[in-house]
Symmetry: C2
Amino acid sequence: MKYSKATNYALHTMLFLVAAPPDKPVGVQQLAEQQRVSPTYLSKILTKLVKAGMIESASGANGGYRLKRNSKEISFLDIIHAIEGTASLFDCSLDHGPECPIQQVVLLAEEKMEEHLRNQTMAELAQKMKMSL
Amino acid sequence: MKYSKATNYALHTMLFLVAAPPDKPVGVQQLAEQQRVSPTYLSKILTKLVKAGMIESASGANGGYRLKRNSKEISFLDIIHAIEGTASLFDCSLDHGPECPIQQVVLLAEEKMEEHLRNQTMAELAQKMKMSL
DNA sequence: ACATTGTAGATCAGTTATATCCACAAATCA
DNA sequence: TGATTTGTGGATATAACTGATCTACAATGT
């Protein structure tokens, strides 16, 4: 079980966007070069973030992507859910009674992880990044 | 991102094994029928649990699988790791500085989940199951 | 108009997950 | 010993998913 590379790209792109000056959009070409993927592929990924309302895109000269919401309001979980979907990690494959006890355990575990990812905002990430430089 | 069906089968098999009387091994045929997969496929999965030291197998008449360790000592995480492997959920795909801040966040989140899965033993699961009947 | 930039569609290769069948090894028992 | 039962390993098939690219098109600014 692993997060997809698409999630990897999405998170890193968000990292670049929170670090960039907020007034000027960043082009997908630049973002794609930094991560060494084709612009069209990265665009597909970022379009999901656009539809989730985290960033906005602008066509034409001086177009690109920029944050839409405040970085304090964007969590890791938001980004991951936008790319991976929100389905649960586990679906009981058997039909034994109304509530599978295994399912309950795994779902609680998943919630612990999500809680942590929900509490980590992009703003905090930007802060961390500055300190490490 | 999802746990594999193999993990699903492994967890359910363990559920059956902790509920079964400990003296008599349970045959793979019976276990496979309950979960509606072929015995050979299930056997492959269970062999991983054998190699991880959780259960033991016996060939020949009256053979089958039974718990090896005490059910109090077997956690959800043990089983999941035996099937899914122990690799991390996230590997930074970029080369930006020694420690990717994204990686750190995701790994901490993963640890929260693992902590919960480590604290849930098969013995507790068996207890839960009894209560729900 | 023209250049720039994001988007949608088609497509494709590679990998992984799921699953089965068959042949074989190991153990029991007559 | 020989027959039967039961787990294991190998080969294989297939379906689904991931990762990725190219081309054509839509939208925007000069």
